[in-house]
């Protein structure tokens, strides 16, 4: 007997649930292998299916979830959603405008059947390749390899029936010497075969030099940020500036600034959910079809993203752009999940550095957090490959520095971008697996604000 598909489960649950309901079913199968000191440490295989039943009543939403798929449990879950929505409705009308209307979802190339086999042998081979390259450089390898197969289906009383299947693969390699100097490289794609473990390990190993670490004092410096650093900053920008809920509430960084220049003219930022080089998605968690959306065009802020509730709050004809993070809309608001920053004219990061007399080269950022949200002011550390740029060349490794700077200010001060782009991701999978990344180039900006440094 073949296994019941997520859409079949969603339809069965909807039939048991009754009217005014949306059912979302997510099936995750994944494998993750961690390693440290060139030896495997933890390996985790997950097979889970979750059912979220959303009840909409008088603008109120209630979601009940379970991973027990028998009829009795699905019926009980629906009853919990019903009861909660009824109780909420007694407090007065809610703010949800009602379920999405049916819209055709577009196809994408985000699934690779070979990756979905989740072959532990492939994971082992990837680890072995990283160990071998690290050993060739007299280093130890640390990191993770993972692959996932996630199916999502929605069935609603209003006739929605979208379903989607995506695969993702990610590998991180940190090469480290006995003194703690480290280099970093990551790869992410819809297909595991697109990731070259040995190439990643080489890139990471090349960042570990035997030179002594140089200290850099607080100040503002020209900077070259590798795509991994750029991607993390853009993810924060997506939340602080392009979150439609924050914008509608007047607390977003672009409040009152849509239509105005907010970045250098060479900045073109889009949400590109159907682009093959990102990790594509067909629809959001309210069943709204995803489509490309310009966020910043030639430096001018043009759009924020919406779910159904934030669009209703924004008014003025705003519509959901397909960015609901949870059924009924996430409490934190809608976020872009397929950011893509257009590339520029520089051949590579070395060319970006070539015009800098004295500056910083940053491989990645770490433990970044917002300090003042409306200013997009962040703080965080550099990590796993920070270098001094002198007379146009990357010369010496730096001790990691703390930066405290605004993302929008950095984009305003951006002078050049590489032509080539990488799909970058932190490979973090808290809760239900939702792979996402940012497609972006390396960039050069002026005035990167260093506010401290770690010590020996």
């Amino acid at each position: 007997m073949s296994e019941e598909s997520p859409l079949e489960i969603a339809e069965r649950a909807l039939a048991l649930a009754g009217p005014d309901m949306q059912v979302m079913v997510v099936r995750e199968r994944s494998l993750m292998s961690r390693y440290a000191r060139s030896a495997p440490t933890q390996a985790t295989a997950i097979d889970d299916t979750s059912v979220d039943i959303l009840c909409l009543r008088d603008g109120q939403t209630a979601v009940a979830s379970t991973n027990r798929l028998n009829d009795d449990d699905l019926r009980a879950t629906a009853a919990r959603a019903h009861a909660a929505a009824r109780a909420a409705a007694r407090s007065g009308p809610g703010t949800h405008p009602g379920p999405a209307s049916c819209s055709a979802v577009r196809s994408h190339d985000g699934f690779d059947a070979d990756t979905a086999t989740l072959d532990p042998g492939r994971a082992a081979a990837a680890l072995s390749a990283a160990f071998e390259i690290a050993a060739e450089h007299g280093l130890e390898a640390f990191g993770v390899w993972t692959a996932g197969d996630v199916q999502t289906a929605i069935a609603s009383s209003t006739g929605l029936r979208p379903h989607d299947r995506v695969s993702d693969a990610f590998m991180k390699v940190v090469c480290r010497d006995a003194d703690g100097r480290s280099g970093y490289a990551v790869g992410t794609a819809t297909a595991a075969s697109s990731i070259d473990p040995a190439a990643l390990a080489r890139r990471a190993a090349q960042k570990v030099t035997a030179q002594a670490l140089t200290e850099l004092g607080p100040g503002c410096y020209p900077v070259v940020l590798e795509p991994e650093a750029v991607g993390l900053l853009l993810e924060f920008l997506g939340d602080l500036a392009h979150n439609g809920r924050a914008h509608a509430e007047g607390r977003g960084a672009l409040s009152g600034r849509l239509g105005s220049p907010v970045a250098a003219a060479l900045i073109d930022l889009h949400d590109a959910p159907l682009t093959a080089r990102t990790l594509p998605r067909a629809f959001d968690m309210e069943g709204v079809a995803k489509a490309p959306l310009a966020l910043i065009e030639r430096g001018v802020a043009v759009n924020v993203v919406h779910d159904l509730r934030s669009a209703a709050l924004a008014g003025d004809g705003a519509r959901s752009t397909g960015h609901a993070g949870l059924p009924g809309g996430a409490p934190w608001g809608p976020l872009p999940t397929n950011l893509a920053l257009a590339g520029g004219a520089a051949a590579d990061a070395a060319e970006l550095a070539s015009t800098i007399e004295r500056g910083i080269y940053v491989t990645r950022l770490w433990y970044v957090n917002a300090v003042r949200e409306k200013e997009t002011l962040l703080t965080g550390m550099t990590r796993d490959g920070t270098f001094l740029i002198e007379d146009g060349r990357i010369t010496r490794p730096l001790r990691d520095v703390r930066f405290t700077d605004s993302v929008l200010r950095l984009l305003e001060a951006t002078e050049a971008l590489t032509t080539g782009r990488r799909l970058v991701s932190e490979g973090e999978f808290y809760g239900r697996r939702f792979a996402h990344g940012v497609l972006c180039p390396a960039l050069r900006a002026d005035g990167f604000r260093v506010t401290g440094a770690t010590t020996g």
Binding site: S30, S33, R34, A36, R37, A39, P40, T41, Q42, A43, T44, A45, I46, D47, D48, A62, V63, A64, S65, T66, N67, R68, T77, A81, A83, A84, A87, A88, R90, S91, G94, T95, P120, A124, L127, F142, V144, T146, K172, R176, G180, G250, R251, G328, P331, W366, Y367, N369, V371, K374, E375, T379, M381, R383, R402, E428, F429, G431, R433, T451
Partner: protein, 482 residues
């Protein structure tokens, strides 16, 4: 053995192939409900009820873990086969020893008076609406939130070393928060804690003790006042941290730094390492003589309290720092054995059935001092800053260089609290900062503060921990850094 989950797991691992040198299985059943009232309306009521089994086993030096939502003998057998295939496919690794453990037997439950999941939704909404209404009124308040969470987790654990135990934890928490905006200025204020409230392993009586509605007018008024308050000055000064901010300071710059897996480089690629080395145990000066830190999984009410950790090691109390000298670390069976300890520190914890146990904090607390009440400490301080409620945090991957921002600062002038200051921040280097601590308030000011968002592990695990803290004073701190 009457617990059906325990029976099922026991039979399943008994059938595991003999080439497995160790097998454990954990059944986790979770029920929870989160309620959020925002800007005068219910924003959402989310409830979850789920279960599953995670199996971890070892073949030679290789570990494998597989999780399934399907709680049947056949599915668990499949999970064992999957974990076995993963373990056997791993690149060759030496077999790391595990510390010995007395097999966990019996049942543990945390104390609670009022089951938070039995409290009606109507009662929860009434409590939240009453508080949230008092947050609104000024048009500059663009967001007002009142939220509560309730959760019950039942766990059954068996191992091939004879463990067979069950546990039941009940947790709840609640908070209120506002965001105020005036032009480009944005300020936040929350109570009793930022980032979603101060949870506890306790019943609904814990939520009622917060008296959210009583604090709501002050929270709203302070957010509005902050919009036009003078900015926090830059420089070096004396700082008094409130218990909430001190709890996060302990969490980030002591708790994580003393995780033994980090010291041994096991987390170097993700969570990071530690500035502390295993050989520092017993000799390193971490801070001043006033610094006494303990990890205690037996504390009533702690989110890090349990009967046994997720390797079946009995809950224990471990001194980590005594009079400023490092004397212990947070460990699981493998990390403890790696440095020659005879027993695990009992800190292996897993986030649900689909994650494997890793080294986590339990309840890592600063012991109370002798500085009296907060008012006594302020009076004794002369001039400085009182920093209250975390707003932002960041620390390097060795847990050494940190920068925090709080929601609010108050001037301390002549031993008295003065005007409000906006956008306060401070930075430091861990051992220097803790060496500057010269006073901790006394026991009546000490209480457990729950944190529900401690992230670690791959795939990511969100852990709930508590920190006991009382306000404390730090000399020569760099402030106004952001």
């Amino acid at each position: 053995m009457t617990d059906p989950a325990l029976q099922l797991l026991t039979e399943a691992i008994a059938a595991a192939p003999s080439r497995c040198s160790y097998v454990e299985a954990r059944h986790v059943e979770t029920d929870g409900q989160d309620v959020l009232v925002r800007n005068g309306a219910v924003h959402g009521v989310d409830s979850v009820s789920g279960s599953g089994v995670g199996v971890r086993l070892r073949v030679g030096g290789g570990w494998g873990f597989a999780a399934t939502r399907d709680v049947t003998a056949r599915a668990i057998e499949g999970a064992i086969a999957r974990a076995l295939a993963i373990a056997e496919s791993q690149p060759t690794a030496p077999t790391a020893p595990l510390t010995a453990v007395e097999p966990a037997r019996g049942h543990w439950t945390c104390a609670s008076e009022i089951d938070p999941l039995a409290v009606s939704l109507e009662d929860k909404l009434e409590l939240l609406f009453a508080a949230e209404a008092l947050l609104r009124g000024d048009p500059r308040i663009v967001r007002s939130d009142a939220e509560c969470s309730s959760r019950r987790v039942r766990t059954a654990f068996v191992s091939s070393e004879g463990a067979a135990c069950t546990q039941e934890r009940v947790e709840c928490g609640a908070s209120i928060a506002v965001i105020a905006v005036d032009g480009d200025e944005l300020q936040v204020r929350s109570y009793p804690s930022a980032h979603g409230g101060s949870g506890a392993c306790a019943g609904w009586e814990h939520v009622l003790s917060f008296e959210l509605a009583a604090h709501a007018p002050r929270v709203a008024a302070e957010a509005i006042e902050l919009l036009s308050a003078p900015p926090c000055p830059s420089g070096r000064t004396t700082v008094v941290l409130d218990g909430d901010q001190l709890a996060l300071q302990i969490h980030e710059s002591i708790g994580h730094a003393l995780e033994l897996d980090r010291m041994l480089l096991g987390e170097a690629a993700y969570a990071g390492t530690s500035w502390v080395k295993a050989h520092d145990l017993g000799g390193l000066r971490y801070g001043s003589d006033a610094l006494n830190i303990t990890a205690d999984a037996t504390l009533p009410g702690g989110l890090g309290s349990f009967g046994w950790d997720d390797e079946g090691v009995a809950a224990t109390r471990t001194p980590l720092i005594k009079a400023g000298i490092l004397c212990g670390a947070l460990s699981d069976r493998q990390s403890a054995a790696a440095i020659g300890l005879l027993r695990s520190g009992g800190c292996a914890r897993a986030d649900g059935f689909a994650r494997q146990p890793i080294v986590r904090m339990t309840n890592v607390s600063i012991e109370p001092g002798e500085a009296g009440t907060l008012a006594d400490l302020i009076a004794d301080t002369g001039d400085g800053l009182y920093l209250d409620t975390n707003r932002s945090w960041s620390i390097d991957d060795r847990r050494l260089q940190f920068q925090f921002a709080t929601e609010v600062a108050r001037e301390i002038r002549g031993g008295e609290l003065g005007r409000l200051l906006r956008n306060p921040s401070y930075a430091g280097i861990t051992p220097r900062f803790w060496s500057g601590m010269d006073a901790v308030c006394s026991a009546p000011e000490w209480r457990l503060r729950g944190l529900g968002n401690c992230g670690k592990g791959e795939p990511g695990q969100m852990m709930r921990v508590s920190h006991g803290a009382a306000p404390a004073r730090f000399r020569d701190v760099e402030v106004g850094v952001a």
